[in-house]
Symmetry: C2
Subunit: 146 residues, 2 copies
């Protein structure tokens, strides 16, 4: 089984990487330049980030159809594992998300959606599912190892 735990080690078919972020004004294509999502290993993990503030809003999953629908419509669309179907974010709550940019990670099994959210991301009414009540700090504070 291929690694799906981040990109500590290189994989075959390495992508050419030319930079650390888009150049200002650089053209973006409807498909990533030299990278494709890898649905052969299961659902993509989708991380949703507020494009304006950088706040991480939620995590969901995408199958190939959800990924294509998001690129086509510009609205964040996921695959619900519990319901076994696509769901467009906000289809019940009205809190849709306009997708400004889609970024695949280095090994194509995770995707970052940079969005303009039209309301809270979380069913609790919070802007983010990662709210203050889920916050902890490592015991004793982070080590000063630098």
């Amino acid at each position: 089984m291929a690694s799906r735990s981040g990109c500590e080690a290189p994989r075959g078919g390495a992508v050419a990487v030319t930079g650390d972020g888009p150049e200002p004004g650089a053209p973006l294509s409807a498909e990533p330049r030299d990278r494709a999502p890898d649905f052969g290993r299961g659902l993509l993990t989708a991380v949703v980030q507020d494009a304006a503030t950088g706040q991480v809003l939620m995590v969901a999953h995408m199958n190939e159809e959800a990924y294509a629908a998001t690129l086509r419509s510009g609205r964040a669309t996921f695959y619900s594992r519990s319901r076994g179907r696509l769901w467009e974010k906000g289809e019940t709550s009205g809190n849709t998300m306009r997708v400004m940019e889609v970024r695949l990670d280095c090994d194509g099994d995770a995707v970052l959606l940079r969005v303009d959210p039209r309301g809270p991301a979380c069913h609790t009414g919070n802007r983010s599912c990662f709210d203050a009540d889920g916050s902890a700090r490592p015991a004793g504070g982070p080590p000063d190892t630098r």
Copy 2:
């Protein structure tokens, strides 16, 4: 199977949510205040964000041991599905990550690590695994539905 596709719908055992972010200077505990990770449904999805810049750096996974090790040591530690063991980020590359804050999401199956990275997160040498070569914009640009 419980939903693991974001938090569009409420779950049983809802947590009391009192805010959208930590108050400045608010005390943080070593465990989230009224929330616990749900390892009964499998590995946690861990999203790693640069605490200083907000850049999303990578996605990995955590079992109970990795989560505990991260809270205990203050160094980002994950579970490698391919290697079937814990790995501390940077154990081979030296690019460790000091964990400043850990945030569980509303249903306890994802965790946001806000870190101070000691070098690139990605094996490619990029700061983030979500680099410019993985970037796309929805066809025709995002819809103006607001």
